[in-house]
Amino acid sequence: MDTDQELLEALRRGQEAAWKEIFHRLYPCVFTAARHPSAALTPSEAEDVAIEILAQLTGKVLQVRKLEELKALAVTMAARRAVSVQRKKYAEKRGGNQTISLDQLQEECGDHFAPFALQMESLSPADLTELSQLLEEALAGVDDLTRELIHDYLLHGMPYKEMADKHRISISAVGVALYRGLKKIQAQLLKSPRLLKELRMFLR
């Protein structure tokens, strides 16, 4: 299978070797999505989610036109599932099947669970691919230090003090660099008003 399209065709025909290949290829993607900071699952819990989502893909292969769509679908499914698992976990911790509000969740979990994550769960795989491209382009437009700070802050949830120590700059310089970097990214997002409008709808 030389191309992605050939691989997709082989998946549709149900070739075992193709499925093995796609499971190995997509596992890092679904695992990383399941480790979304908003869900804050442990590595072991994220592995469970990744396996569950990969298994569910067997029923989705006829719904996509390109392999990239299958990948984006898998990533969105994994992130949603991870948030749902975390939500259930905290609900159980509180006792039984009690319903828990998003505000309560945030209060109890602090920064480890950001409820606005749930606002974007309707993001389609196509939107995700477009958003991903925009963010990549935007990140390419900022300097190395700012890019690292953005990763530390938004991907790893690193506190300001740690970021300042790591990069040997003052805490206020961290804030200013992040602000200016994110402004550049904001300008990039404005290039796609349709997507920005959809993203805004998902936010509170």
Binding site: A18, F23, C29, L131, G175, Y179, L189
Partner: protein, 242 residues
């Protein structure tokens, strides 16, 4: 307040690292200046989009970690469960003809090159809906022992792989009688160096067969697959029985 100080304050509040007095300061600044209030909300939105989207964008291009070897059999078990659930729903919801269509397209979607064999299995399964599942059991250590490669059980619709974390659970499973909905149970018995098979024949009688375990990992996988396929054809064959 200078722009730079305002920017630093905004980011501190958004990072939930501001003190109560810093939060109050920002609020009073925004109350006095609508432009700064709009600026804050616009940045808050960008942070939220980025906080949500960046991890997903990273996930799309992730190349690691690899699927852990010991998890491979669990994935196969999950795939098996997916098939099982789909078929069970089909039995409840659909007529016979649409059931045939569902079964065929489902198997075609996954079994592919084995399409002809899948049709044969479908006929058999439809005739004996109460006894078609095959369970393969193995103790967790078996999957990763040796060279680091994982032992891979065959991926087939009616086959479920169960990986036992506790030895006592594995022992209990081996001794349990075969449920009505199960066609066979297969396990690797490392103590005796054999593959054991508990099997319900076409007359409903329970048979027990064992076969000497092949030498290396790949041969063992092929051996197990051959055993499963012969079971699906209702003709269990082994190299040596006792």
């Amino acid at each position: 307040m200078e722009d730079q100080d305002f920017q630093s304050l905004v980011m501190k509040v958004l990072a939930r690292e501001a003190t109560p007095s810093e939060t109050d300061l920002l609020e009073s600044l925004m109350a006095k200046d609508k432009a700064r209030e709009m600026e804050f909300h616009s940045m808050k939105q960008t942070v939220e989009i980025f906080r949500e989207g960046l991890p997903l964008a990273q996930a799309l291009k992730a190349g690691e970690p690899e699927l852990p070897a010991y998890r491979w059999n669990e994935l196969q078990a999950a795939v098996g469960r997916e098939f099982g659930e789909k078929e069970q729903r089909a039995v409840i919801q659909q007529s016979t003809w649409s059931l045939w269509y569902e079964r065929f397209s489902f198997k075609a979607a996954f079994a592919g090159a084995l399409a002809m064999a899948a049709i044969v299995v479908s006929v058999m399964v439809f005739s004996f809906p109460q006894a078609r599942e095959i369970e393969i059991g193995m103790y967790k250590d078996f999957a990763t022992r040796g060279s680091g490669d994982s032992f891979v059980a065959p991926v087939l619709p009616d086959v479920t792989t169960v990986v036992f974390q506790k030895e006592e659970d594995f022992e209990k499973w081996k001794k349990e009688s075969l449920p009505q909905n199960q066609k066979a149970r297969i396990w690797i018995d490392e103590e005796t160096g054999s593959i054991r098979l508990l099997w319900r024949d076409t007359h409903g009688n329970i048979q027990e067969i064992s076969e000497a375990l092949a030498g290396d990992l790949k041969q063992r996988e092929k051996q197990l697959e051959r055993m499963v396929r012969s079971l699906l054809n209702d003709q269990p064959r082994t190299n040596r029985t006792r």
